[in-house]
C-alpha cells in the first residue's frame, strides 16, 4: 500500500519525494505571505485609526506618516470624553443595543419554538409571510415607519429606536433552524413530568440552544451598535443620539484628525471586543442563518 502511494506521488510530481516536499513548503510560504499582505492592507486603516488617535496633529500635512504620532499623547481622548453629551451617547448606544438583544433572544426563542415544535392552523403560511419580509430592505421601511411613529407622537424618544428593533425575523428563522436538530422526545418527557409551555421553552430548550442564542445576541448587538440610518432620521435632540450619529456630528463640526480618530476608536471598541472574544459564534451565526434563507 505504501509503495503504491509513493508511486502515485512519484507519478504526479516527477522527481523524488524530497523535492516535492520542498516545493510544497515554498508554495506554503508564498501563500502565507500573500495572505499576510492582504491582511495588512485590510488592517491598515485600523492601525492608522488607533495610532492617529494618539497623535497631536490637528490638520493634515504632506508628511507621509503624519498619522504616526511623534509623541504618544492621550489628549484626544480626554478632550472627547469631556465633550458635552459624549458619555451620554455611549450610554445611549448601550441602551439601544442591549435592550433589543434581550428582547430578541426571548422573542426568537418563543417564536422559534412555536414555529418548529407546535402545529397550528396556518403555521407554514404565517412563517413564509414572515420570511418574505426579510426581502424588504430597512431603508424602504423608513418612510412608512416615520409616518406611523409621527402619528403616534414617538419621534425623538427612546422608544422610536427600541420598538422596531425589538425582534427580527432572521433571528426567529435561525432559532427555528437550530431547534430542528433537537429531538422532540426530550420535550415530551418534560411535558409528561408536568412542564408548562414556557417552562419547556426556557428550562428545556434555552439551555440546549446556547450556541444559537449566542449567535443571535452577538449579531443583534453589532447591528444595533452600528445602526446609523434610523437614529439619524428618528432622533432630533442631541442627548438621545447613539454614538454613531454622535461621531458623525463630531466629524461634521471638527476637522481635527486626532479627535475624529479617538471618537472612531471609542465607537469601534465594543464591537471589536465582542468580536475578538466570540469570533466562533459570529461565523456560525452568519453561515447557519444565511445559507438556507
Amino acid at each position: 500500500m505504501i509503495r503504491y502511494l509513493k508511486k502515485t506521488n512519484g507519478y504526479k510530481y516527477p522527481g523524488n519525494i524530497t523535492s516535492y516536499r520542498k516545493r510544497k513548503r515554498i508554495n506554503s510560504v508564498f501563500c502565507s505571505l500573500f495572505a499576510l499582505i492582504i491582511g495588512l492592507l485590510f488592517s491598515f486603516p485600523f492601525i492608522m485609526m488607533i495610532s492617529g488617535s494618539f497623535s497631536a496633529s490637528t490638520v493634515m500635512s504632506d508628511d507621509v506618516f503624519f498619522w504616526w504620532p511623534k509623541h504618544w499623547i492621550i489628549d484626544n481622548y480626554t478632550t472627547i470624553l469631556n465633550r458635552s453629551y459624549f458619555i451620554t451617547w455611549i450610554a445611549n448606544s448601550f441602551l439601544y443595543a442591549v435592550v433589543p438583544v434581550l428582547s430578541t433572544v426571548i422573542i426568537s426563542l418563543i417564536l422559534g419554538y412555536f414555529f418548529e415544535k407546535r402545529r397550528f392552523w396556518g403555521r407554514n403560511f404565517l412563517f413564509w409571510c414572515f420570511l418574505s419580509m426579510i426581502m424588504v430592505p430597512t431603508q424602504v421601511l423608513a418612510v412608512p415607519r416615520f409616518m406611523l411613529f409621527s402619528k403616534m407622537n414617538l419621534i425623538d424618544t427612546y422608544k422610536v429606536i427600541l420598538l422596531p428593533a425589538i425582534w427580527d425575523i432572521t433571528s426567529v428563522f435561525f432559532m427555528r433552524q437550530y431547534m430542528k436538530g433537537i429531538p422532540n422526545s426530550i420535550e415530551e418527557a418534560a411535558i409528561i413530568d408536568g412542564c408548562g409551555v414556557f417552562r419547556v421553552i426556557f428550562s428545556i430548550y434555552a439551555p440546549m440552544c446556547v450556541p444559537a442564542i449566542a449567535s443571535v445576541a452577538i449579531l443583534k448587538f453589532v447591528s444595533q451598535w452600528n445602526e446609523f440610518f434610523y437614529p439619524l432620521v428618528f432622533l432630533t435632540s442631541e442627548n438621545k443620539y447613539p454614538i454613531t450619529v454622535g461621531l458623525s456630528s463630531i466629524m461634521a463640526e471638527s476637522s481635527s484628525f486626532g479627535l475624529t480618530m479617538a471618537g472612531a476608536v471609542v465607537n469601534f471598541l465594543p464591537t471589536f471586543i465582542v468580536f475578538l472574544c466570540l469570533q466562533k459564534y459570529f461565523i456560525e451565526g452568519i453561515t447557519a442563518g444565511g445559507i438556507k434563507g
Partner: protein, 256 residues
C-alpha cells in the same frame, strides 16, 4: 401613501399617479438611479471575487497563518460611520490625503478622489467592498468546508493539478453560494446610503446621489412624504424584480 401628498402636518391629499409622474421628470432622482446602477457595477463583481479569493486563502492548507481570517473580517463588525471617518482621511483630495501621500512617494500623480465626479463614486464603492468582503468570505468559507475531501482525493488520483481542481471541482460546487451572494451584494448596493451621506453628501454635482439618499432628502429634510413613499416603493420593486430575474436564470441553469 405613494398616491398622496403629505407633509406630515396637514391631512394627506390624494393625488392619484402624480407622485409617480414626478419621478420620471425628476432629473436628480434619475441621476441617482444611474449612480446606483454604476455603484452596483463597481461593487458587485469585485466584492464577490475578493470574497472568494479571501475564502480560498483562509481555507487553503498551504496558508499557515490562521489569524488573518480575523483581519479580513474586522471591517464587517465596524460601523459605516467609523469606516467613513477613516475613508475621509485616507482618500482626502489634494496634496494632503494619506493615499495621495503614498502615491507621491511612488512618484505617481495625486488623485482628486472626492472632488472628481467619476472617482467619488468609485472610492465609495471601494469602501463598501472593504466592508462587505468579509461577509462574503464567510459564506464561501462555509461552502468550501462542505465540499467533501473525497472529491479532491479522487481528482488527485486521476492526476489533476491544482488549477484543474479549482476550475472543475471548487468553482462548480460553489455555484449555489455564488447565486445567493450575488443577490445579497445587489441588495446591498441598492441600499448604499451611509457613506454617501457622511463623506460626500451626494456631491460633487450629484455624482454620488443614491436612491436611498434621495428618499432620505425628500422624506426627512424636504417633508415630501408621499413622494418619498413612491420612491421607496420603486426601490423595493427594483430589488424584487432583479431578484426574481436572477432566480429565473438560476433555475434555467440548473435544468440545463
Amino acid at each position: 401613501m405613494s398616491f398622496f401628498h403629505w407633509n406630515y402636518i396637514n391631512k394627506p391629499l390624494f393625488l392619484g399617479f402624480q407622485n409617480w409622474g414626478r419621478i420620471v421628470h425628476d432629473q436628480v432622482f434619475l441621476k441617482s438611479m444611474v449612480n446606483t446602477g454604476l455603484f452596483s457595477l463597481y461593487f458587485v463583481v469585485p466584492v464577490i471575487v475578493l470574497g472568494l479569493v479571501l475564502a480560498l486563502l483562509i481555507n487553503s492548507k498551504l496558508n499557515k497563518l490562521k489569524f488573518v481570517r480575523s483581519m479580513y473580517y474586522l471591517p464587517v463588525v465596524t460601523s459605516f460611520v467609523v469606516l467613513s471617518a477613516l475613508w475621509l482621511w485616507l482618500f482626502a483630495s489634494g496634496d494632503y490625503g494619506i493615499i495621495n501621500n503614498f502615491l507621491k512617494l511612488l512618484h505617481l500623480s495625486p488623485q482628486p478622489f472626492y472632488n472628481s465626479e467619476t472617482q467619488a463614486l468609485q472610492v465609495l464603492s471601494l469602501l463598501s467592498i472593504y466592508k462587505c468582503a468579509g461577509t462574503i468570505m464567510i459564506y464561501y468559507y462555509a461552502a468550501l468546508k462542505n465540499i467533501p475531501d473525497t472529491l479532491y482525493e479522487a481528482a488527485t488520483i486521476d492526476g489533476a493539478n491544482e488549477r484543474q481542481k479549482l476550475m472543475k471541482i471548487t468553482l462548480p460546487t460553489l455555484q449555489p453560494t455564488t447565486f445567493y451572494v450575488l443577490i445579497l451584494a445587489i441588495t446591498w448596493s441598492f441600499q448604499v446610503f451611509d457613506s454617501a451621506y457622511l463623506i460626500t453628501s451626494g456631491g460633487p454635482n450629484n455624482s454620488t446621489q443614491t436612491i436611498v439618499y434621495q428618499i432620505y432628502l425628500n422624506a426627512f429634510t424636504g417633508a415630501k412624504g408621499g413622494y418619498a413613499s413612491a420612491q421607496s416603493v420603486l426601490l423595493f420593486l427594483m430589488i424584487l424584480t432583479i431578484t426574481l430575474i436572477l432566480k429565473r436564470f438560476n433555475k434555467n441553469d440548473n435544468e440545463a
